[in-house]
Symmetry: C2
Subunit: 398 residues, 2 copies
């Protein structure tokens, strides 16, 4: 059987994205979601000539005529309506964040003043027009786009939403995802396995990998029985946008997933990828429904989710997907098979360079090894000798 | 007044950490928390000699004696009790994940077999002992520490918790945090501000920055009135471990926070730091209570939280705190004042190198500029001319 290359597999997956629509959420709960509207300035920023140092506001003209001692007419506080300087030779004390008083165009900070008996005296030769004043509209003009559509929302965006009064924002809807484990050898986390059993772990790893994308997935376990699989998967295909499987996609006598999916008329887009780990990966579609059937080994499931599901999701919700992360191999590494190898690595920085050190694992079943590493370095299938200092694509997971 | 250097400020803050104790949470909700127990292997991994390819299990001895056609005695499925090969010249079909049947020590994968009339025939010259068998205890031995205490939990750790049956795990308790904004100029996000008012945004930015640390903070707003401030802050000091303020720490007539904190016997550990933005930053303690009073400008609050609160929190919960993130300046940059400058930058990667391009903002009030950048490059205070290619510490926020 011909295997699909990693590159082709990703290409097919990125051609199979879906639009899940738009929903409106409270702005404070939108971190990690993808913005689906342009956020525009509701007014100029700053909205008024804003005092940016605590001190006195004066008229430059008075200063230039030689006035150095200014009678204090009042105090312009932040959050108060704008005052007006009545006598051009006087001053108004003005606070950071306040509107610049009418008839003034210079602020002199307290550090340069002496205040005594209701007068503020300065000892300066010159002042600059609009010094210590953050001018209206300097940062942004009313109706400027502050945040474009399709931005991944972070705390920086939260502040802007608040500033322009967007108490709710439009974001990309998350797909409804069902994560299914199969295999009679699996017992629950809270159970004590018999000698020949192990605990279910892949579904939980997948749940937390999807949580990083703010997707709340459901989970199920199905025993290795063809009829049960067919009934349950058929129901899941009706109820969910995406099914993620872990296991039962290889050559074993009980690896029923490809056959069952075929019976349910899910179109196979590929089965088996030229990669390690994760070779038996199966991917298909049934109309708008998408099925990722990952191999059951823990490391295979883990890296396949990052390498294939993540970009599929990002593209589906409209995020400009950047694969540009790369790292520098710290030592020579040899990998014979003609497969793309996802090498587990530990990362560190040196002089602004990202260095990846291979962490020898014990194969795709060695879940504990994921704990000791930070990322996978993607070594291409057209070579076996990888050299210290070479740069390769990187998939981080911390 | 002498300003504290950024280095000293951080040193003082890191000496002022607190232990908030330990709590037990469901393992699936522990991502982003700090583990407070060693996670040990409850048995060997794999727990048995585990078949790692679908095929037949045979005795090497029979093969070495010349047997090439093996009668199939049965099927060893994953999740079934261990079978025993009765006749040493026969075989048992064995599935990935299954126990290796008794009296067998070699697995030959289906790809190399022909199966017909109840016999599996191979065309091989040699086999290796324990080929395609993941040997008991190869990855980890019973009682090995799989994840040490004080690890930041990611999806990789979730899988290990599940595998060893830790349905709940001990994690560091989060501090109780109150985020307080002050300033009469502030109105709520849902309100339309008068000309001289602006909307509250810093508290929401701080809430989402703390959510990244899994801290659910409370928020409050207090008007610029000394008596009200004193009453409310006194209450917050009783009820919370940490108070974060935004604003009212500079020289303005209504910048009451330092005075009020002094009246409430919160010990000032420093006030004003040699940095831009964020110069008027105030920090203090009252017994086990910790007070970060950040300046009110949006960018000041933002960078101060990342530069000071984050490491304080990490050290408080026992995480080995690494400041090693750095980036390479993409172009010459000049900054005259004798202050540490937190330069807003956009990041990109080139050949494994992290490049930081300055994004010219309009000063510490320019919140929208945070949206256009990814990080702050920390330019030291002992220089004004920063050169393309130089490497500086980096504070990322995406």
């Amino acid at each position: 059987m011909e295997f699909t290359t990693v590159k082709d597999a990703l290409k097919i997956i990125l051609k199979s994205t879906e639009d899940f629509g738009i929903e409106e959420v409270d702005f404070i709960n939108s971190v990690g979601r993808v913005l689906k509207e342009d956020i525009v300035a509701d007014r100029d920023f700053p909205p008024f000539n804003r005092v940016s140092m605590d001190g006195i506001a004066i008229a430059a003209e008075a200063f230039n005529k030689g006035v150095r001692s200014f009678k204090i007419e009042g105090v312009q506080a932040a959050g108060s309506p704008q005052l007006t300087l009545k006598n051009p030779n006087n001053c108004i004390e003005a606070m950071t964040g306040a509107m610049l008083p009418n008839n003034t165009d210079v602020v002199i900070q307290y550090e340069l003043l002496e205040i005594k008996d209701g007068f503020a005296t300065v000892n300066l030769d010159t002042v600059k027009n609009f010094q210590n004043i953050h001018k209206k509209g300097l940062d942004r003009k009313e109706n400027d786009v502050l945040i474009p559509k399709n931005t991944l929302i972070s705390p920086a965006e939260i502040g802007v939403f608040a500033t322009v009064g967007k108490s709710t924002v439009k974001v990309g809807k998350e797909p409804k995802v069902m994560i299914v484990s199969t295999g009679n050898e699996l017992v629950e986390v809270s159970e004590t396995p018999a000698e020949y059993q192990i605990r279910r772990s892949n579904v939980y790893t997948l749940v937390s990998l999807l949580e990083k994308l703010k997707i709340k997935a459901d989970t199920a376990h199905i025993l290795d029985d063809k009829k049960t699989l067919e009934t349950k998967i058929s129901k899941f295909l009706d109820e969910y946008d995406v099914l993620l499987f872990s296991g039962a996609v290889s050559k074993g006598k009980f690896d029923f997933i490809p056959e069952v999916l075929n019976n349910l008329v899910v179109e196979k887009l590929f089965h088996k990828v030229k990669q390690r780990p994760g070779k038996p990966f199966w991917f298909g579609k049934k109309a708008a429904k998408t099925v990722f059937a990952f191999p059951g080994n823990p490391v295979s499931t883990f890296v396949s989710c990052l390498k294939y599901f993540y970009p599929w999701y990002y593209k589906s919700v409209g995020l400009n997907f950047e694969t540009k992360q790369e790292a520098i191999l710290s030592e020579n590494f040899y990998f014979k098979p003609n497969l793309t190898y996802f090498l587990q690595v530990k990362l560190h920085q040196e002089n602004g360079k990202l260095i990846a050190t291979p962490i020898a694992g014990k194969g795709s079943g060695d879940l504990a090894n994921l704990v000791d590493s930070d990322a996978f370095l993607e070594l291409p299938d057209d070579n076996s000798n990888f050299t210290e200092g070479q740069v390769f694509p990187l998939i981080t997971y911390r």
